[in-house]
Subunit: 206 residues, 2 copies
Amino acid sequence: MPRKRLTREESRDLTRQRLLEAGAVMIAKKGLAASSVEDIAAQAGYTRGAFYSNFDSKNDLFIELLKRDHEDIQQGLQQLLDAGLSIEDMQKQLAHFYIQAYCGNTSYVLWAEARLQALRDAKFRLRLNALLLEKRNVIAYFITQFCALMKTTLPAPAGDLAFGMMALFDGVRFFNTSMPHEMSDAAAQSVLSAIFSATFFDSGRR
Amino acid sequence: MPRKRLTREESRDLTRQRLLEAGAVMIAKKGLAASSVEDIAAQAGYTRGAFYSNFDSKNDLFIELLKRDHEDIQQGLQQLLDAGLSIEDMQKQLAHFYIQAYCGNTSYVLWAEARLQALRDAKFRLRLNALLLEKRNVIAYFITQFCALMKTTLPAPAGDLAFGMMALFDGVRFFNTSMPHEMSDAAAQSVLSAIFSATFFDSGRR
DNA sequence: GTATTGAGATACATAGTTGTATTAGTGTGC
DNA sequence: GCACACTAATACAACTATGTATCTCAATAC
């Protein structure tokens, strides 16, 4: 096995990558405040030295973590929108996306942690809000497109409804995780789709 | 001002009360993990000795805090249900209740904190889930009554929809707090009521 | 090959947190 | 009024976290 000899930059990037991944794991597991810098570094297989030589602070790592996750999601949603699919295909793809992006990993925990952090730290809040607004805009655009295709009218401004959907999806995901017996995967999907259709389909046809 | 000389029990209850209140303040301000026992005791005007002589642990205080808040809300909702009001009055009262119970204080932050804690601590999760289920049941009952009165049908099981509404309300409250410019009080109320009506009124009349 | 650079380890000083063990002081029962 | 009981303060020992300063060694430049 000819292990590649890394250049200095490759090596540094790899370390950063591993620290970020370790941060995601630890913060999801123990929470932001309870995860020490040492925990994160150790989880990545390093010591604190590596951490401080790559990040200014825990918050610094955290916001980068969120940014990366956000970019992944944005990209996925944007591709879906740009693909010019039929409504049926779109809904199918969206369901798939939902399962993969929301249920397939623990990143929603990071976002919950982030919302709390935002309430307490004005600087952090600014950075988080920027990400949330971007996400809202993509979702609002999707909603607008959906209603245009369905020839239904929106019961409230698209941006506000987008926030509503974000709240709904994240919150239901929480119940689904922490009390799967009372809110199964199937129940989660069905209640989300019921509320979604009611809001964007039924209410606009009165 | 003849300050009453307190009996031992009264004095202890007062201390407990103050510690609980201080816990609510500190946990909302700094988060559960970042609030030390000393922080809480100091905020209440005591030292750690008072804390440990009244509670087993920080989690112990926290769960009691949640239980009290929960009981207040339960009581309020139950009274509303039992009052036998007309639909219009009910909606009016409910809006008032929402403003007072959700927007008038910071307890929703505690519940967000609790949900995260529940993901990490199985024992805590059991206790929290019990509270959440009780709340869900009251809301589910309300939803059922509402739809019966409106003669509409439910688009999904009442319990699941109740979880959905809880998710929605809490989540929107978050946006409303941390980005009031993008999600004003009025926008929050209007989007909530739009989704609510769409789900429980419009969708059932097809 | 040698000198240089810089990523990451280690050492250190400081500070904060926890829970218990002990002590002081105020209600309570006699 | 005196002994008791209990609440809350204080003292203490162990542990954990933070950030910086220093050191080591591998990658790069010459």
